[in-house]
């Protein structure tokens, strides 16, 4: 029973992603289902903010997580996200081809042929939000080798961010808490600026990495050995699909889907490390990441909120990550995300937490850097 409970609780995103796909397929106002689910999750996350659980192990210290099942689910998310884009492209085709409204049934599932502009907006927003939330699987698989790493690249390519996989493992995890890591937000930066800078900075890391590597190998930058170029080429099928299905509207929709999904990804980076400081060359410790580990956030985001443990034990399976007394916001990602959207409110919320970090967790060298921020502001 315990094994079932531990494994089933991480299926919220796959189930809701399928529901979002079904909503877009059924059409009419169901196209907004993905947006409604996002809103409902924010409410559930806020209501459960006080419930924090530890990782589950048996008496012998073994985890209840079933590795094969959890990996099968993560790999399954690649075709699920491809299908999410295909179903949205189908709706774009219907809109731009002026398909008349008719009610049909497909294997017993009723759906409406044809879509209004309003419900198409709902479909695009739903697809963007769930493509963004699904990026957690791209993140988790980036910490694997071979097929897991490639699957991560392909999942991220669906959002035009294949470079993330390299930058996350070789830049973010090594340079965390320092200005060399574009995914760490310094004090005073807002989530909107961070979304662009972190996205571009991670792509720049991959670009420079390949440039130097190919120079050493005496190969041209413009080759398929260039993983920066290859990463963007993985996105070509998505672009083709949206161009073919919707022309101008298709391109516009893809821009919206990519913008939302990348914004959500970078918002997670923003929340994960905002304002925390590490002296260059010193080891990454639990205090260099924020934990967000209330019940709903932990289950929904497959424990990605246990950043403190994750950054010290990067190869650890997500179901084994635990509370390590890292700095903790005390609320979940959905609730905190709403706060980040209002920068002044977010800064006010984090000020006391950062003051506490400076006093009780920072080293004297880290505190010195923190003081420089105070002097600048």
């Amino acid at each position: 029973m315990k094994t079932f409970y531990v494994n089933a609780r991480y299926l919220i995103v796959p189930v809701m992603t399928i529901a979002t796909i079904l909503g877009i397929f059924i059409g009419n106002t169901f196209a907004w289902l993905g947006v409604i689910l996002f809103g409902a999750n924010t409410i559930i996350d806020t209501l459960t903010r006080g419930i924090h659980l530890r990782a589950d192990f048996d008496d012998n210290g073994n985890s209840f997580g079933i590795k094969r099942l959890q990996y099968a689910v993560m790999y399954f998310m690649l075709p699920a996200f491809i299908f999410l884009q295909v179903i949205l492209a189908w709706r774009l085709y219907q809109y731009t081809a002026f398909i008349p409204f008719n009610d049909f049934s497909f294997f017993g599932i009723p759906y409406q042929d044809g879509i209004t502009g309003f419900n198409l907006i709902g479909s695009v927003l739903s697809a963007g939000l769930w493509a963004g939330l699904g990026i957690i699987y791209g993140h988790e698989l980036s910490h694997n080798r071979k097929e897991g790493f490639l699957t991560s690249r392909l999942i991220m390519a669906l959002s035009g961010a294949s470079h993330f996989t390299y930058a996350h493992v070789y830049n973010h995890h090594l340079d965390l808490g320092h200005e060399d890591d574009p995914a760490t937000a310094p004090r005073g930066r807002n989530v909107y600026t961070h979304a662009w800078l972190s996205h571009a900075g991670q792509s720049q890391y991959s670009y420079n990495l390949e440039k130097e590597k190919l120079l050493r190998q005496r190969k041209s930058f413009f080759s398929l050995s260039n993983k920066w170029i290859l990463g963007y080429l993985y996105s070509l099928p998505s672009i083709f699909l949206f161009v073919w299905a919707g022309g101008f509207f298709g391109v516009l929709s893809l821009i919206v889907v990519w913008s939302i999904s990348n914004f959500l990804l970078e918002a997670l980076n923003f929340m994960g490390h905002y304002g925390l400081i590490r002296e260059k060359g010193k080891p990454v410790e639990h205090r260099h990441s924020w934990d967000n580990d209330n019940l709903f956030t932990s289950w929904f985001f497959i424990e990605i909120g246990r950043q403190g443990d994750h950054h010290v034990r990067g190869e650890t399976y997500f179901w084994e990550l635990d509370d390590v007394d890292a700095p903790n916001y005390g609320i979940g990602y959905f609730s905190l995300f709403v706060l980040t959207l209002i920068p002044s409110l977010f800064r006010k919320f984090t000020q006391n937490l950062l003051d506490d970090w400076d006093r009780n967790k920072a080293t004297s060298a880290e505190r010195k850097i923190a003081n420089q921020f105070s002097n600048f502001s």
Partner: protein
């Protein structure tokens, strides 16, 4: 300053590319598969060049935590 300079050049490059696609009547032929592939490849190229413009103009400047460094 370098940020603004980069964004301005990215804007000019994107506008020029979109104008070129428009003059080639890409907005009319996008449902033909070969055209759709070419348009998609062109848009991806525009995006990649935009990123490269940004990296090459701004360098590490936007990532400095303290601007006087």
């Amino acid at each position: 300053m370098k940020n603004i300079q980069a964004i301005f050049i990215m804007f000019i490059w994107t506008a020029f590319s979109i104008l070129l696609l428009y003059l080639l009547e890409a907005h009319i032929y996008y449902r033909e598969v070969v055209w759709a592939i070419c348009i998609a490849a062109a848009l991806l190229f525009v995006h990649m060049v935009n990123m490269a413009i940004y990296f090459n103009i701004t360098g590490k400047e936007p990532y400095k935590w303290f601007k006087s460094q």
